[in-house]
């Protein structure tokens, strides 16, 4: 008898794969955005399933919120008509082969790592914030630096006066 969690996981996994593929293969750009939004929400649900609620909320907020809107802005600003077709490139054998190979290798590699038999376990969000400001504080600082660099770069790239 499959447990509820397992069934949920299978469903969520399927949705994730389908929406990801769909968003890439869609004809209309706006459809891409819609599919990817569903994908992000789906991933957030996966995180909830893994007993990482903070991350799930974060995913919803940042990805399903900000990133989706950003992508939409990108389309709006650069396209004269929102609903336009974009020609897709041919799908040659090389990319498919490479993708499949990557899949195979990753599965093999990661599957050999220790701890594959344990049961999942969740954490208290307070414990998470505790580590974020102590053991993993370096990561946060790094994030700050990266963000700063990114924002400056973005501003630079879009400023007027450049040819």
């Amino acid at each position: 008898m499959i447990s509820l969690a397992e069934a949920a996981f299978v469903l969520l996994a399927l949705v994730a794969v389908v929406t990801a593929a769909a968003s890439l293969l869609a004809r209309e750009l706006v459809h891409t955005i819609m599919w990817i939004a569903v994908f992000f929400v789906d991933l957030a649900l996966v995180y909830f399933l893994l007993d990482a609620p903070f991350l799930g909320v974060l995913q919803l907020g940042v990805y399903a919120g900000a990133v989706t809107v950003l992508l939409l802005f990108g389309i709006m600003v650069t396209r004269k008509r929102i609903f336009s077709r974009e020609a897709a490139t041919g799908i040659g054998p090389v990319p498919v082969a490479l993708a499949l190979l990557t899949f195979a290798f990753v599965v093999t590699a990661v599957g050999e790592l220790p701890g594959a038999e344990a049961a999942p376990q969740g954490y208290d969000p307070s414990a998470l914030s505790a580590t974020l400001f102590s053991t993993d504080g370096a990561w946060v600082l790094l994030l700050g630096v990266i963000m700063l660099a990114g924002v400056s770069g973005a501003i630079y790239l879009v400023r007027e006066g450049r040819g």
Partner: protein, 106 residues
């Protein structure tokens, strides 16, 4: 906690990565390129999350989630920069077809 096995997550993450790579390799539209990158990044973040869940006794088990948090931030930044590039490219060439952007000089 409830019969979830890691293998499924491994497969999911790998599959998403593959899809993302596929998208990077084949899409000509810059925005679609960004989308594909996002898919791949999410696969990576997913990795961290389920490692944290399934291997708590390994040193730094909780750090997996912490890192995942940080990675989400990274991803967002990167989308912002990508968008800036899209705008700049569009201004220069009037298109967002990456095939047009073959020279280092815009």
């Amino acid at each position: 906690m409830n019969g979830l096995s890691e293998v499924g997550f491994v497969a999911l993450s790998a599959a998403l990565l593959a899809i993302g790579l596929f998208g990077i390799l084949t899409r000509r539209n810059f925005v679609l390129l960004l989308v594909a990158i996002e898919i791949a990044m999410n696969a990576a973040i997913l990795n961290f999350v389920y490692f944290a869940a399934f291997a708590p006794t390994v040193p730094g088990g909780l750090s997996g989630q912490a890192v995942a948090v940080v990675l989400v931030g990274f991803a967002a930044t990167e989308v912002a920069v990508g968008l800036a590039i899209v705008l700049a490219l569009n201004r220069a060439k009037g298109t967002i077809n990456v095939a047009e952007a073959t020279e280092l000089r815009l």
